[in-house]
Assembly symmetry: C2
Homo-oligomer: 189 residues x 2
DNA sequence: ATCACTTTTTGCCAAATGACAAATTATTTT
DNA sequence: AAAATAATTTGTCATTTGGCAAAAAGTGAT
């Protein structure tokens, strides 16, 4: 929990009373490897913060292939934002790809917090923008580069992820086939 | 000008007095084809809204190749945000790739407006988030697809741009070479 | 209409990647 | 340890794309 509070405080101030309020509403969710935090077709009902583990966001394209959009690891917000905010069914799966511990808030509690704590929505907005910006930077690195360069920059961006997740997920994130990635790795090491 | 006001009002309310204040500070900037709205190495000093024309955002990569990050067309905000907000030198060029008319605000005026008009910063924040989200969606389409698919989705996203800008810019945006794009087009049409 | 210049298309070959299947290696279960 | 399962690597060949240079088409000025 401490991590989450510290994380929030990076983006704005909260007094002890406000912090306590947040703590009171928080619950811990444990997910086993391969379990879902939220699923395509369903409305996202939780706002979370990962304290342990890795989540990946994926969907199925026209051809039925599983595509990994991105990864979220420790000390980051995890929420299917569009679905959560607008109460619409999501088009993506948020799946644990290792055992995870996540601090979660129900939608009701979270909205209550946003309404009660002045400045919290400001903090959240900043967090969201920052996350989006990071996403843009990451995606940019994936365009225009060849497989090898993509893989190298992936390793820079997620240095502590490479060895914790299956190769196939990395490949679908990088937009190349698993075999290609395997060959690329052979050439690098 | 009307377009800009309408644009802002999509994201929040402003009364007539506030609108007049904004109008009073606005200036019209005309850029000829190939001129720069802001340049790499310099601090961005203007916040703009394109009423006519197309701007592209580009930079030079390690190899000295010119890379197009994205295009901005009519009825969209144009600003080198990171540089403008933090007063740091930018790493990108914002270049007119057709004659442009842009409504602009100096940094000083814009900050004054943000301080004076309650709710404007909220509106701006919403605009920025939306733009970032669009960027993510666009970039996602560029990863994982082959050249042909990229080009097709580019045409969907910028239907009125394809015939107005040089092929080489489109190619560098799509992350493929100009020759490849030329061949791809031949196969499609 | 001609010339100069820019943009786009082609041709050629090398390199990278995809598709599919089989083999190998790791991991888990019994 | 052996068997079963999953993950990764490798082989083979077709396709796509890159790199480079030349040709063709388009544009603008005189």
């Amino acid at each position: 929990m401490k991590e989450f509070v510290e994380y929030l405080l990076q983006f704005g101030n909260l007094n002890q009373q406000q912090i306590d309020l947040i703590l009171k509403k928080s619950k811990e969710l444990k997910l086993k490897n391969n379990e879902y935090f939220s699923e395509a077709g369903k409305v996202a009902k939780q706002f979370g913060f990962i304290t342990e583990g890795i989540i990946r966001v994926c969907y199925y394209n026209d051809k039925g292939e599983e595509m990994t959009k991105y990864f979220i690891d420790e000390n980051n917000i995890v929420v299917d934002l569009n679905s959560f905010d607008n109460s619409i069914p999501s088009s993506a799966y948020l799946q644990a790809i290792s055992d995870c511990k996540i601090i979660v808030f129900s939608k009701k509690d979270w909205e209550e917090l946003l309404n009660t704590i002045i400045g919290l929505d400001n903090i959240v907005r900043k967090i969201i923008s920052k996350a989006l910006l990071r996403k843009v930077v990451r995606l940019s690195a994936l365009v225009s580069d060849d497989g090898t360069t993509r893989y190298l920059s992936f390793m820079e961006q997620y240095p502590n992820l490479v060895n914790r997740i299956p190769l196939s997920y990395v490949a679908s994130y990088l937009g190349i086939t698993q075999s290609s990635l395997s060959r690329i790795r052979k050439n690098i090491c």
